[in-house]
């Protein structure tokens, strides 16, 4: 079974995998737009692009987790529809591992179909099988060790061995290096080359430019759901790749962000929060929008979480010249700091509660009726209605659960909740992730308005064009450190270089 299709060369006959016109639409967002992709046996195809380019959607379609809205997927020229990936020899190693921490290596590798009869597990065979797959990738692990004792790199090996057991034809690796150390990464590339030799087709999803060149035979670039380029790795220059990834700066409607004053409102000094944040310093002035840029895993979210007191940290945070010692969301709110988290459904919204309560959640203290002590909220309904109108939130009624709103309107209601307390500092983590173009533009305008009204705005975004459009300055993070700072006009290529590569010295301005 493992020895199927030994030839490692494409060319004759249909390719191992071919997609044509693959399209996937989520609500108002076209996540993947007519994407063509081919993978030969024994070929490593890198799919690169920024966050939100459609890489994960592509992966989920190829694994049969999503149904395409248009287009087709073919294996060996035969179309696949409503399929189980494992039955066609396809498997993916997802970015988030799906291992059972308390089970052994052997159990994890074989978990999808434990060897044995009549419900009884044959442990000998389980161990032999697991060993067999670990041998393929050249990983030496203690079969009986519980997975929780392994390093991240070792866990990845288990994850790959497990995937190989289900799939011996096409392996999809989604950002496999994101959490690996240097030596672990090299080991992984070794494994990928080994699997390529065995005739596997490999799709390598990444946005790290350097490593793409280390393993890929062919590079396909996605942007905004489109395939914007695809060429053999040897024929695509690094510069070309960077330009394809970022694209030209989208300029539908400029955003008026005003002019910052000189007064420093938020000052962060030597902020560290191991293991993700190490010695980050920056300042945000009144009326200024500061962008935090960096690759996935660079520590962007962790930095803002540490500032807002959501994770333990060392270092100093100053608000309008005053040192803030005890930082908790409660104390930060009282100091006029707003925080809109990345995962709005889990950490932002009160899904089952009505829109009205969601809108007034931050300002509710101010609405408490003073006449009858503590009872009633004076004008809550009115202020909620006013916020909904101001922020142009489309809703079926103020009493409708907020979870029934669209992503864009949910995000606008979160922003409205915070802006109702007229914050001095606003921290936004990926404020436009997963919302449609129209809502995105409105959110951009809101951020601009906030800055013009004198708030200090800190924006984390994985979309560089967005930051370049909004921010007055951009701080680049890499591996938890602030490595460079740019002011307008921004040089996208330089920013990407600092985010993705190992250039050591930091420039100031450009």
């Amino acid at each position: 079974m493992l020895e199927r299709e030994p030839h490692a060369s494409g060319g004759q006959g249909p390719p191992l995998l071919r997609t044509s016109g693959l399209t996937k639409i989520f609500g108002a967002t076209v996540a993947l737009n007519k994407v063509d992709l081919e993978v030969e046996r024994g070929q490593v195809v890198a799919v690169v692009g920024e966050n939100g380019a459609g890489k994960s959607t592509l992966k989920n379609l190829l694994c049969g987790l999503l149904e395409p809205d248009a287009g087709r997927i073919e294996m060996d020229g035969k179309p696949l529809a409503h399929f189980k990936a494992a039955e066609h020899g396809i498997a993916a190693v997802h970015q988030e591992f799906s291992l059972f921490q308390s089970l052994s290596v052997a159990e994890n590798v074989c978990i999808s179909d434990l060897p044995g009869r009549r419900g009884l597990v044959n442990w000998g065979e389980t161990r032999t099988t697991a060993q067999q797959y670990l041998n393929i990738i050249g990983a030496q692990l203690n079969l009986d060790a519980p997975v929780e004792l392994l390093s991240t790199g070792e866990q990845q090996m288990v994850e790959i061995a497990k995937a190989l057991r289900q799939a011996d034809r096409l392996l999809i690796l989604d950002e496999p290096t994101a959490s690996l150390t240097e030596p672990e990464r090299d080991r992984l590339f070794e494994v990928i080359r080994r699997l390529r030799q065995r005739g596997l087709g490999i799709i390598f999803i990444s946005h790290f430019i350097e490593e793409v060149y280390e393993v890929a035979d062919y590079i396909v670039v996605l942007r905004d759901g489109h395939r914007v380029g695809g060429r053999p790795a040897s024929e695509m220059s690094r510069r070309e790749l960077e330009e394809l990834m970022v694209g030209r700066v989208v300029s539908e409607g400029e955003v008026d962000t005003g002019v910052p004053t000189d007064a420093v409102i938020l000052k962060v000094e030597h902020l560290s929060s191991p293991p993700k944040v190490a010695d980050v310093s920056f300042e945000v002035r009144q009326g200024e929008i500061l962008g935090l840029s960096g690759l996935m895993g660079a520590g962007r979210t962790e930095v803002v979480e540490a500032i807002y007191g959501l994770r333990p940290s060392s270092g100093k945070v100053w608000l309008a010249g005053k040192l803030v010692d005890q930082r908790t969301p409660l104390s930060m709110k009282q100091l006029g700091v707003a925080f809109v988290p990345e995962d709005r459904r889990r950490h932002g919204l009160f899904g089952v509660r009505p829109l009205r309560e969601n809108l007034t959640a931050a300002a509710i203290d101010r609405l408490v009726q003073r006449r009858l002590p503590g009872f009633g909220f004076a004008g809550e309904r009115d202020s909620a209605a006013k916020l909904a109108a101001d922020f142009r939130i489309v809703h079926p009624g103020l009493e409708a659960s907020v979870r029934f709103l669209s992503g864009g309107n949910q995000q606008k209601s979160l922003l409205a909740r915070w802006l109702a307390i007229a914050p001095r500092v606003c921290i936004f983590d990926e404020p436009t992730r997963g919302i449609d173009i129209g809502a995105k533009q409105e959110v951009h305008e809101l951020l601009g308005r906030l800055a013009r009204q004198g708030a200090a705005v800190l924006v984390v975004s994985s979309e560089l064009p967005e930051l370049m459009q909004l921010a007055h300055r951009i701080v680049v993070l890499r591996q938890g450190r602030s490595v460079a700072e740019f002011s307008r006009p921004f040089d996208a290529r330089a920013i990407i270089q600092y985010a993705a590569s190992a250039v050591q010295e930091a420039p100031h301005g450009s």
């Binding site: 989520f26 930060m332 925080f339 889990r346 959640a361 909220f377 659960s401």
Partner: protein
Amino acid sequence: MAANRQTRYSLSSVWLSVRNARWLPVLLGILLLGVVFSQLSPAFLKFRNLQNIAAQSSVTGIMAAGMTFVIMTAGIDISVGATIYLSLVLGNEIALKSTTPFVVYLIYPLSIVLGSFLGLINGLLKDSLRINPLVTTLATYIIYRGIATHITKAKDIHPPESARFLGIGSVAGVPAPILTVLVVVIVSALVLRYTRFGRYVLAIGASESAAYQSGLPVRQVLIAVYVIAGACAGLAGLVLLGRVGAVQNDMGIGIEFTVITAVVLGGTQLSGGRGSIVGSLLGAILLVMINNGLNLIHVSPYIYDIVRGSVLVGAVFIDRLSTAQRSVAGPSSRVVRAV
């Protein structure tokens, strides 16, 4: 123009709040059962019997009000039955052994204070040990009952008549148990709906993480709801004591499950964030009605529990059907499930 829009309550929003009223099904259940029982037994609709049902629902109803706060935050408190017993036993040690009538009256505030204190222990334990509330209150359930039995040596306590007011007394012709449960339910419902604290409870139940990140005092609120549940248990204990006339060793055994059943029947979600106090009271009434009606039509008492349990399964099933219809099945939810 804006003012106009703000103050007008449109028909659709009224309809929405009716549709969102999660106590509606249990009310319909009570009416339906009422029709059925009144057809089968002429005694059912007699004023006397209805008053009986109301009085019998009082103990569960009072406790259910407190429990609703806890469940609304996605918590649970199974120590409330033991809290009743221990707060009465401790109260007896201090107040009921006295021969001075004035000191005997102290049992009323004392039982509530002791109940709150036991609830506070629950809340603090859960907060500091960070173990889930089921385990925490299971442990304190055992401990509380253990302490109480240790004190009484499993013997009954017979209090003076003046300690029984909440069970057998009446004010202006209204039986005290009914009055008590009404006051508790009305105050609780107002607190939940019209105070900052109530709003925090609902927000935490909807998403604890979002509540924390929005700068709400999550820890304090999560402790406070157990204090409320304990206080309600202490008060319910006084009613029970009055009705039974003695503090018995098996007092309150199993009542926590009746209370939780009432809350769930009343439409409060175990996952928190949605429900109502009034619903919980209706749930308590429905449970008593089942017993009462079956008793009147001479059904064997041994099947009461089977019926009550089945009603619960049915209620939860119906709720699930109606929520499933309303939920928007987006593609993202599919991905989450698949991955």
